[in-house]
Every structure is written in C-alpha cells, then in structure tokens.
Amino acid sequence: MNSGRIFGMALLGAVLVTATIGAARAADPPLKVGLLEDVSGDLAFMGMPKLHGSQLAVEEINKSGGILGRQIELIHLDPQGDNARYQEFGRRLLNRDKVDVLIGGITSASREALRPIVDRTSTPYFYTNQYEGGVCDASMVSMGAVPEQQFSTLIPWMVQKFGKKVYVIAADYNFGQISAEWNRKIMKDLGGEVVGEEFIPLGVSQFAQTIQNIQKAKPDWLLTINVGAAQDSFFEQAAAANLNLPMGSSIKVMLGFEHKRFKPPALNNMHATANWFEEIDTPEANDFKKRWHAKFPDELYINDMGYNAYNALYMYKALVEKAKSTKLEDMRKVIATGDACIDAPEGKVCIDPKSQHTSHRMRLISVGPKHEVTVEKDYGTIQPYWLGEIGCDLTKKNDKDQYTPSHLPSKS
C-alpha cells in the first residue's frame, strides 16, 4: 500500500519534471516558415521539388540546432496553381498563422498576386524562382536568376553560334510577355532580327499551326519560353514534324527537366543558361544531390527552383543570425552591408543590396541528341546588376514596383 503510494508520487514527479523541461523548450517557440508551393494542379511536377528542397533544408537546419537556437516549423499550403488561392493562403499565413517569413510562388502571376499582400505586412518574402526580373520591392528577396544573368548571356551566344534571326514562342502572361520584351531589347542591341513572336494561352497543347508559322518565317533559332505541361507538348510535336531548329530558353532543362520527361531526341539542340542543373559535377553539388536523393529517392530531377528553395532557407538563416533578429528591417540592414552571403552548392552567392536579388554562378548548357547535358561555357559569378543601373536602390527608397525595359523608374 505504502510503497505503491511512493511509487505513484515518484511517477508524478517524473511527469512533472518532464513537463517542466518541455515548458523550458516551449519558451523558445519555433520559427514559423510559411511556404506556398503547388504540389497539385498543372505545375505540380515543378512545385514538388520546391517543397522537397524546403523540407530538406528545414530538416538539416533543425538537426544542426535551428536558427538562433530556435527550431523551424514549416507550414506548407498547396495553392494548386490558382492565383486567388495564393492570395487567400498568403493572407492566412501572414495574418492568422503570423509566420516569420513567407517563401514560395511558382509563376510570376502568382508572385505578383502575392506581393501587394506581403507589402501590407512587415514580413519578409522570398521568391525562389528564376524570373523575368525587375521587381524592386523591399519586402522581397529574389533567390533565382534574372534576365541579365540568363538572357544577356544566352542570346548573344545563340546569335553568334546560330544566326541573327529568332522566332519566339512564349506563354501569354507576364513572364512570357516581359521575357519576350527582354529578347527584343537584346536582339536590337546585337543587330539581330525577331522574325516572329507567338504568345500562347496557358493550357494550349496543339502546335501544328505554330510549327508551320515557324517554318514560314525561317528563323535561325527559336526562343522557347512556353510554360506548363500542356505547352511543353510543343517539343514532341516539333520533333515529330522534323522542325530541327536550335532552341534557347531561360526555363527549359534545368527548370522543367523536359529532357527527362520527353523521349530523346525531342529536346536535342536546346540551350539554356542556369545557376543550377542536376548535371553540375562539382564536389559540393554532388554532396547536395546525394543528400537530396537519400531523402527523396523517387525524385525525377532536382530542378533549379527546388535548389533555390533549398538555398532560400539557408539564406534566411544567415540573415537572421547576422541580424540577431527576425525583423525585416534588421535583416535588411544586413543586406545593405553587402555581406549577405551563403556557400551554396553552386558556390558563394550574395544578395545585392540595391535590388535584393542574388548573384549567381552561371553556366551555359546544351542538350544533345541522347538528351545528355554538356556545359558549353562557364560565365563565373554574375551580379544582378540591371535594377541597380536603372535606379532602383532599396537601401534608399522602396519602389514596390516591377520594372521592364519599357517601364523604367521615373527620373526624380
């Protein structure tokens, strides 16, 4: 009887002690990371690696002690490729869950849907895709490559190698339209000619007419900035019709891994400039790929979005630890020093203080007839210089605008 009571007391004590330890830990609440990535819907095949990259980074960071000693809690919602849902879920994460940082968005349309909502808060937002560039917004840090890193390298190379006439196939929304504008500007500077431009509604999957329009215009090469699984059918149909033209792109291969999804030789003679592609063969990259595939053995391809999403969390960690704060203004003070850098699998990348975009080591890659990827040229590290040159300086003024070659900041 008595001994039983003692045992009971001991048990109660043990429970209390454990509870106290638990409470001590709870005093350091986890950092909430809100993640919006499509893992269903038309872009799921691109969004899945983004979710995986974020999960891998969170797991690694948590294992090694978290950020400033705090664990990361990843709250992922799936907007299913619907811009209205991006806004709804964005509000939910920012206002209800009160996340410390928001990450994500696939299309430029979803980013632009999200940005005004983020701007009304003081939460930092990381966009992790390569894109058409030009966003000058203090709330946003861009982790992907931009036109001065992708088009200013690729287009001159294509012109020199294949000729001055280009035909453009672009998805009909802000990404495709603004990318095409970049192409027009760079081609004009090079003395080249855009012999045709076709904007294609998302979801269109039949390209017989487009293929014929291309043959009629007789270009030297194609710029393919078509987006999504339906529009990707272009490659298969062009190969079947024996179109046989060199192609260049800022999103093919490293982002959409079309060379893994289509049967060779549909992607033969495709060229792209990328800061990441799975075929990168350096010790750091190989180590990263090994960790990724150990956690996600079924991954078809580690695309650049997924890779950038992984880096975004490490960049966030670096900023918070240098600022010793999770507040956007403190983090931006670190960015303003120009010393916001991490050692990424591609090499050292840093955030540019003026535009809050990321420097990248860019390589030009080519796809061969068996869909083998070879590196044609290594450009070294390229800064995201364009926004700074045209007058965006976030250390002085928050424009909250997106600039393009035809929409430049007004001189004041």
Binding site: F199, P201, G203, S205, N213, Q215, A230, D232, E236, F262
Partner: protein
C-alpha cells in the same frame, strides 16, 4: 502553291481530328444520354496513361492504344453501374458526382503515379512539301477521327443495338415495355462513350506531356463541340467540328493561337444564342 494548299488542309485536319476525337465520347455520354460527365477528361487521361504504361512494358503502340481504349470502356461501365446509374433523372446531380469523381481521380493519380511521367515519343515519320515538313502521325490522327465517325454511324444507325439504344434514350419506359433491356443499353452506351474518350487519350499520348490533369486540355473543346452540335450525335458533332475547325484554323494561321481560341469560343456563343438546340436541330429539320 500546292504546298500552301496542302498546309491549309493539314492544319484543318489537325484541328478537326482534335475536336472529333476529344468530343466523340462525350457526344454519346452527354449528347445522347444527357449525363454531364465532368470526368470526361479523366477517361482521356486514363487512356493516355494506360497506353504509356503498356508501351513501357514492351507492348507495340497500336495494340497498347486499343487496350487502353478498352480499359477506359470497362472502367466507364463500372462507373456507370456504381455512380452514374443513380443520376439519370437528376442531370445536375450527375454533374456534381462526376466532378467529384474527376477530382478524386486526378489527385489519386498524382499521389500514386507522381506528378509527371516520361513520354514515349511520337512514332517516327515526317514528310516535306515545299518548304514545310509535316508529321505523318498527325495524319494518322485525322484518319482515326474519320474512322471514329464512320464507326459511330454504323453502330447507331445501322446496327440493331444502335436503334434500340436511340429508342432507349428517347423514351426509356416505352423501350422497356417493348422488351429492351434498358439497364444494359445504358451501361454499354456509357462504356462506348468512355472507351472513345480513352481512345482519344491513347492517340494523343505520344504527342503530349503526361500529367494527371492533362484531361483538362481536352475538356473545353469537347464540351463546346458537343453543345453546338446538339442532340444528334452524328448530324451534330461532325458538322460542329468542321465548323469550329475552320474558324480556329483560319484565325490561328492569321492571328495566332490567342485570337484562334477567343474566336472559336466567340463563335460558340453566337451559335448557342442563335441556335439553342445546336447545329443538328437545323440539319435534322432540313433532312425531314
């Protein structure tokens, strides 16, 4: 000049084949039976995935395509038995039920098969006329579309089954009183409809990217074709496809894909406004 002429025919044939193949199954299920099948695209997706799966197992492409169509047909009959049968008198509820089915199927495919499957490549073969090169397989698709129309004509106009089926759709109680096994007729008709959807997916599988939501690419065109075609499968769907294909081809060629799509949908609105019963109402009246 002959190259230009052929290219116009080729473009027309290409759009026509796409409209007919994506709409043929729906013409039976929706046009004849009155079931608003929101899972039509998922039967197309089923045909595509089965084809690719079988080809990867080493089955020759044409056989894989036939087996895929049969699979979609059998699954369709099961779906009819378990779900659709309960909604013949409640068309709006059938819309909701099949839409739910479509969501469940796409999401399950995403979870089971993954977000993308490697394609199998279009069968080799292209030919050149003038400065243009064309894919032979696109002409095969056109041939298949014509064959599907001919097959439907034979089944529903010449065969005993077709006559009974049409009678059942018009007046099930009377047909039953005359000894038709209407339950079986419904089941087989639905099966033919979904088999044709599966065939569409099977035929387009080599030319497209396979993702679980791929059916959506076909759904707008198929509904539009059936709706402006009207109730009569043969007298409606074929002329509707010819009409829409001409508009779309002409606009695509001169103004690009955006205007092509807008123009086609605009024509659809006009036709529904002027001929609410669809093209077949005019053609049938003339025929009498």
């Amino acid at each position: 000049m002959s190259a230009e002429l052929f290219s116009v025919f080729y473009q027309f044939a290409d759009v026509f084949a796409f409209l007919i193949l994506s709409a043929a199954g729906l013409a039976i299920v929706f046009g004849m039976m009155g079931v608003i099948n929101m899972a039509h695209g998922e039967f197309i997706m089923c045909g595509a995935y089965v084809t690719v799966g079988l080809v990867n197992l080493g089955v020759p492409l044409p056989i894989a395509q036939i087996l895929a169509a049969l699979t979609a047909g059998i699954i369709g009959m099961v779906v009819e038995l378990l779900i659709v049968r309960r909604f013949y008198k409640r068309p709006l509820d059938s819309l909701l039920a099949t839409w739910g089915l479509s969501l469940i199927v796409t999401q399950s495919m995403l979870l089971i098969v993954g977000s993308a499957v490697r394609g199998i490549g279009t069968p080799e073969g292209s030919f050149a006329i003038g400065g243009y090169t064309f894919s032979t397989y696109r002409l095969v698709l056109f041939g298949c579309a014509v064959a599907v129309l001919a097959g439907l004509y034979v089944i529903f106009m010449k065969m005993r089954f077709g006559v009974i089926a049409r009678a059942t759709m018009q007046n099930a109680a009377m047909a039953k009183a005359l000894g038709a096994r209407t339950g079986r007729i419904y089941s087989i008709s639905f099966g033919i409809g979904t088999a044709l959807a599966g065939l569409c997916g099977a035929l387009y599988a080599p030319t497209m990217t396979l993702i679980p939501t791929m059916g959506a690419t076909f759904v707008v065109e198929s509904f539009v074709t059936v709706v402006i075609g009207g109730a009569n499968v043969l007298l409606g769907t074929a002329p509707a496809a010819v009409f829409l294909a001409m508009i779309r081809m002409a606009l695509n060629a001169s103004y690009g894909q955006i205007i092509g799509q807008i123009g086609m949908l605009f024509a659809v609105i006009l036709i529904i406004r002027v001929l609410p019963e669809g093209l077949s109402s005019v053609l049938v009246r003339r025929g009498r």
